[in-house]
Symmetry: C2
Subunit: 291 residues, 2 copies
């Protein structure tokens, strides 16, 4: 979720939670990260979300955030363990970065990985990270490894000075093409200001804005009338592998596209379609909103 | 808490929780970090722990861990905000490191800090971190800054190869002396294997082992019979600013001492007293325990 006013995700999370073992097979742990200003908090549980006590908390405790990344896991590379549970967090340039991945990226697996296409040998893969400088994976997923690699690349390129938004977007696009050429690399990445979303194969989004209407979950018979919970200037983008609601217009992202969301607006897209114009108004004051 | 078998902290946390705004003045946010193997999860809430929904979850959800660090905050440097809420986490050498601090360390404040004794100028303080390499603070507490500085020092000294336990302990002692000379630096630091505890002014610990007995909280009229919840080989060290129970033998740490706990045993202490002998038996299998 990316929005222009701190918004709780209780409604969307209720549907999402069901996919972690109830309405979908992603039962190998789950996690959710909330940015609140530059701060971030990450709730993780290696249990399936549909029966996780932590998920119950998240569902009922309205944490208001402008950027949220949640993930339910079906373990492919790396065992079911806390250290392999998405989303992952690292700090770079004095800001937290949160990353979640769906798919598989050969070459970023750890030493036992079958197909180290990106690194010619497992030793080469280990050397990418084991120089004691820069982010290094703790667990053994390809996902955490590729996240660490992305941040290292960014730091190598830009040194001590974080790039401006559009420069970061184009660099991420270049790096994403490189990784995406060798695997399925659907991902979400945020530093609390911007949310980057890459669709390798499957990703969709909806932008909720005035006039707000009733939304109905696809995974559970629950509806919410956003008109009652929002102000007219609110703008909330929700991005998901498959639409979370069954009565809203979700946009399917073209395979291979990288998107940048800011203040609830898809402000940049690469490579297929010209970016839509930035929205005119600036964000509203921090009032309660919901998604 | 540091122990030799994954142990839940529900009992101790019940008393600790009360100190976050009910029986003590530390009402400016709280947090707790659990290591589970090499994985770590951190629950943070800028609300006072005595009425925090996240604290209710932690109190009632028995997460079993061999190393736990919890903190309740009385804001001194840095506003009440998520990014200033302890404990802090960074990754170094492919392991998570968790840090919580009680006190104030002039010289590690951010640019608005009054007394930058450690760095001669505020510009110098900024330059310590703003080189784009190594951990950098996200919030504006002296605590997060000194944590980042410690990790940078360790990485500069040891490069790509993490030191062995005793070398790490002696290096931390040297760095701690340097910081502790200019401020109050009670801290807890863990990488999931070892828990380092430094007492600048006030810190105490108890080691629970067989024969286990009934313990009674100091902050709430709650008792637990650990004999019912443990096995004879369990060993649990609990470290706190002031004792959490009123019917157990707590050891007061001498001011200026750094301690290293491993598998529920204080295995090293610097500088005042010779370290007690290491315990003979190795850890038991992972069965339920409680603290």
């Amino acid at each position: 979720m990316n929005c222009n006013t701190p918004t709780d995700i209780c409604f969307s999370f209720a549907g999402f939670q069901q996919r972690g073992g109830a309405t979908s097979v992603h039962a190998d742990g789950w996690g959710i990260a909330f940015f609140e200003g530059v701060g971030a908090r990450v709730f993780l549980d290696p249990q399936p979300s549909f029966r996780s006590p932590v998920a119950e908390l998240v569902r009922n405790y309205p944490i208001r955030s402008k950027n949220v990344i949640a993930h339910i896991r079906k373990a492919t590379h790396g065992r079911i363990a806390l250290e392999n549970t998405h989303p992952f967090m690292r700090e770079l340039w004095g800001r937290y970065w949160i990353f979640a991945h769906n798919g598989a990226v050969p070459g970023f697996g750890q030493v036992n990985h079958d197909a180290p296409a990106f690194c010619a040998t497992t030793e080469a893969a280990a050397q990418v990270f084991n120089d004691g400088s820069g982010p290094q994976p703790v667990g053994d997923t390809d996902s955490e490894a590729v996240f660490c690699w992305l941040l290292r690349q960014l730091r190598q390129r830009f040194g001590a000075t974080p790039p401006a938004r559009d420069e970061l977007f184009s660099t991420l696009h270049e790096l994403t093409l490189k990784v995406g050429a060798s695997g399925e690399f659907n991902y979400l990445l945020s530093n609390g200001d911007w949310l980057f979303a890459h669709c390798s194969r499957k990703l969709a989004f909806v932008v909720r804005k005035a006039p707000f209407a009733v939304a109905h979950l696809a995974d559970e018979d629950v509806s919410v009338d956003f008109a009652e919970l929002t102000t007219p200037s609110d703008r909330v983008a929700v991005i998901a592998t498959t639409p979370l609601t069954d009565n809203e217009e979700w946009t399917t992202m073209p395979p291979g596209s990288l998107w940048l969301f800011e203040e609830g607006v898809p402000v940049a897209q690469a490579p297929t379609v010209p970016a839509p114009p930035r929205k005119e108004e600036t964000g509203s004051a921090a009032v309660a909103s919901a998604a």
